[in-house]
Symmetry: C2
Subunit: 413 residues, 2 copies
C-alpha cells in the first residue's frame, strides 16, 4: 500500500473531473496500433469522451470515421468537422427528420433491425446512408439474433432494394464480455472475455457466409467493445472495430484485465469532509451526482463504487506488475514511468468507496492509510464506469489546469 | 394489468423528463399539512427538484426556510429570493470563501461535526451563521454518533464561544430508513421504517437532554427523510422536518410505503426502438444517462431500474388500493381521481426495466402487454430514485408542454 495521493496541483473547491492528457494520448496510440497490427479499420466510439477537442487527438492516428450513440452526438461531431459517422443505436423513428438532415451533410451510418425502420428510412431520406443490420451475437440486448439468418437475409435484401440505402454489413456489440469478471482471478477473467470474443466472431462470420451464399456480394463486419479490443490477439473476419471506453478506461476495465491502473486517464477530485478513524472511513464531497452509481462487477461481498488514488513513489523506469489492482500478482507487466504515475497516481484497491448517496461518498481505508488524511484534503476517486461519470460533467480539467469542454446532451423536448 | 400508456400528449423525440404539476402541488400540500398537524416546522429539502419555479410553489404554504445540499445550490436559491437556507452537508473547507459571502447575504445554516471546522468558520466569517451539529442517529454515514454525548457537548460549547456562530441545535438524517424494505410486505416495511423513526427521535432527544443538563439553554432538533415524514404519526421532540423527495416520490418510495403510484409526479418519456415478442422484451431509447442507475431495493431476484406506466381506466372518484405497486393488496387506500391518473398514468410493476446500459434500456413485459407496443411509440418510465434522475436534466416539461428550468450544478473547477 502506498500513501493516498493528496491532489494539490489545482485549486479544487468542488468535485472536478480531472483528465490526464498523456494517458489519454497513449491509450489512443495503443488502440490505433492494435487495429493497424490486426489489419482492421478503427472507428472509435466517441460516446465516452464526447469532446470535440479530444476527438481531434485521434486525427493524428489517421482516424477519419467515428461512432456515436445518439443523433445529437452525431450533430455535435459533424459540426466539429467529422464527415463519416455511424450512430450505433437502432434508428429512433421519432428523430427521422434530424437523421434526414444529417444524411445530407455527412456520410452517415445507421443501424436497423426491423423492416418497418428500413421502410421509414427509404421513404424519408433524400441522401444516401450506410445501413448496418444490428446483430445480437449473444449479448441479448439489441439486434436480430445471429442464428436468425433468414430474417437477417430478408432484411439485407430489403435494404438493397431501396434507392437511398446502401447495405453496409452487420454490426454487433458483445457487451456480455462485461459479465465475465471472475473476482480475484484475472487470468480466468481474461480467458472468459476472449471466449466471448471468439464466439462472437464465429457467429458473425456464420451470418456473413449465409448472406453471401444467399446472393449478397459483400457484407462488412463491425465489432467492438473495449475488453475484447484491448486484449484480443486478432479480429478474424472483422472489418472494423469500434471501442470507446479505452480512451479513459476505469476500474471495471482494470477488473476485466483490459488495462493497468496507470492507464486510467480520468478521476474525480473530491474534498474530504470528515475523517472517522474509529470506523476507518472518510466522508467525501462526492456522491452519485458526481461519480454515477455503478458497482464494480464481481465484488460480491460488498458494492464498490470507486476507489481512491495512491501515490506511486520511486518507480521511474521500473517494470511493475499491475499495481493497485486486486490482481496484483497476476497482472500483465508494463513499464510505468514517472510521467505515467504523476498526477493521477494509481488506484488503491485497499481504499474503495463503499457507499454513495446523492452528494456524499464513504471510503473505507486501512488504519495506515487513514492516518495521513485530513478534513479539507483533496483526494482522487477513480470511477467504476468512466462513460457514466463523464456524462455528469460539462468539461474536463487537465493536470495543467486547462479546461476541455464536453458535449452534454441535454435530453429534453 | 392495465394497458401500457402510450404517451401522445407532447411531441417527444428524445428522452424527456415529464412533470405532472398537479401531482407535485398535491404532494407539497400534503406534506405541508402533515408538518402543521404535527406542530413542527417545515424546511423542505430542495435537492430533489432544484428548480426556482417549483420552489415558488412552496411559498403558498407558508414555507420561508429551505434546505439544500451544496453551496452552489444555496447560491442558486438565494438568487431566487430565498433568505433562510440550511446547507445540509458538512462544511467543505475548500468553499469557505463562498460560505462567507453567502452568510453576508442570507440567514445561513451550516453543519459541522469537528472542532477544526468550527474554528475555520469562526476565523473566516464576518456575518453570523446558524451552526448545526450533524449527529449520526444510526445511519452511519456522516456526523458524530448519538452516543458520543461528550464530544457533541464539547463541540456545542466551542460553537457558543465564537462571536459569529450561533448554536442552532442537532441535525440528523436517518437515511437507514431506506434499508428497511421487506420485498412484497408493505406492512412489515412500514413498521420497520417507523421503528427507525422512533429510535432516531429517542436518540436525538437523549442528546438534547445531555446538552441541556450540561448547561446549554436551548437546542433545536432537525430531522427529515421522506419515508418517515410521509408515514409517521408524530415527530416527538423535533422542531423541524426536512424531507425532499416527497415532492416527486418514485418507485423506491412506493416500495417503502411512502406514496401511492398515482402520487409519483415525474417520469421519463422514452421512444421504443424495438419490440422482441419472442423474449417478451422491448428496447427503449433510455439508458443510464437518461434514468440514472439505481436498482430498486429489496428486489432480490433481479435488478429493477424503473418500470413503465400503465393506463388506468374508469377510476374517476373510485377508492382503490395502491394500484401498480407490488403490494397491491396491502396498500393504503386513497381516492384516485381522473385528474390524478391522466397524463403520467400509474406504475405497472409487471413491466420493469431490467437492464440499463449507457443509452439503451430493456423492459420485460408479459405477452398481453407487449402486444400493444410498436417501435416508435413513446412510453413513460417511472424512476427508482427521482433525485438522481432529475439530476441528469436541465429542465422539466409539464403535461401542458411548459418547460421548467432546473438548476444544474456543473461540478467543475
Amino acid at each position: 500500500m502506498a500513501r493516498i495521493l493528496r491532489f494539490d496541483r489545482l485549486p479544487i473547491e468542488r468535485p472536478t473531473l480531472v483528465l490526464d492528457r498523456e494517458r489519454v494520448m497513449r491509450n489512443i496510440a495503443r488502440m490505433s496500433a492494435r487495429a493497424k497490427a490486426a489489419g482492421v479499420g478503427f472507428r472509435p466510439h466517441f460516446k465516452t469522451h464526447q469532446s470535440a477537442l479530444i476527438g481531434d487527438w485521434f486525427r493524428d492516428h489517421g482516424v477519419t470515421g467515428i461512432t456515436v450513440s445518439s443523433v445529437a452526438m452525431a450533430e455535435y461531431f459533424a459540426a466539429a468537422g467529422w464527415s463519416d459517422i455511424t450512430i450505433a443505436i437502432p434508428v429512433n423513428p421519432r428523430e427521422i427528420a434530424r437523421i434526414r438532415e444529417l444524411a445530407g451533410l455527412i456520410e452517415l451510418g445507421v443501424l436497423v433491425e426491423s423492416r418497418e425502420t428500413v421502410d421509414l428510412l427509404a421513404e424519408s431520406l433524400d441522401a444516401p446512408v450506410q445501413v448496418w443490420i444490428k446483430v445480437d451475437a449473444g449479448y441479448g440486448r439489441a439486434g436480430i439474433r445471429w442464428d436468425e439468418t433468414d430474417r437477417i437475409r430478408a432484411l439485407a435484401q430489403r435494404i438493397r432494394e431501396q434507392r437511398r440505402l446502401s447495405f453496409a454489413g452487420i454490426l454487433a456489440h458483445s457487451g456480455h464480455s462485461y459479465h465475465e469478471v471472475r473476482w480475484g482471478d484475472i487470468q480466468a477473467t481474461r480467458q472468459a472475455v476472449l471466449r466471448v470474443h471468439e464466439e462472437s466472431l464465429t457467429r458473425l462470420q456464420g451470418v456473413r457466409e449465409a448472406l453471401l451464399a444467399g446472393g449478397l456480394e459483400a457484407c462488412a463486419i463491425s465489432v467492438g467493445d473495449t475488453p475484447t479490443c484491448s486484449q484480443a490477439e486478432h479480429f478474424r473476419g472483422a472489418d472494423e472495430i469500434r471501442p470507446g471506453n479505452f480512451v479513459f478506461y476505469d476500474l471495471m476495465q482494470l477488473q476485466l484485465g483490459s488495462c493497468t491502473g496507470a492507464e486510467i486517464a480520468v478521476a474525480v477530485a473530491t474534498p474530504v469532509l470528515a475523517v472517522y478513524p474509529e470506523r476507518r472511513q472518510i466522508l467525501l464531497y462526492g456522491g452519485a451526482v458526481h461519480l454515477a452509481v455503478q458497482a464494480l462487477p464481481g465484488a460480491s461481498e460488498r458494492r464498490w463504487f470507486g476507489c481512491l488514488a495512491a501515490e506511486l513513489a520511486g518507480t521511474t523506469g521500473e517494470t511493475r506488475p499491475q499495481v493497485g489492482s486486486p490482481h496484483e500478482s497476476a497482472g500483465r507487466e508494463r513499464a510505468i514511468t514517472a510521467e505515467q504515475t504523476e498526477g493521477l497516481g494509481i488506484p488503491e484497491m485497499a481504499a474503495p468507496l463503499t457507499s454513495l448517496s446523492q452528494e456524499h461518498g464513504i471510503a473505507d481505508l486501512p488504519e495506515a492509510l487513514i492516518e495521513t488524511i485530513r478534513c479539507g484534503d483533496i483526494v482522487l476517486v477513480y470511477p467504476v464506469h468512466s462513460c457514466l461519470t463523464g456524462n455528469l460533467y460539462d468539461r474536463y480539467v487537465t493536470l495543467g489546469g486547462e479546461e476541455i469542454p464536453r458535449f452534454r446532451s441535454l435530453p429534453s423536448a
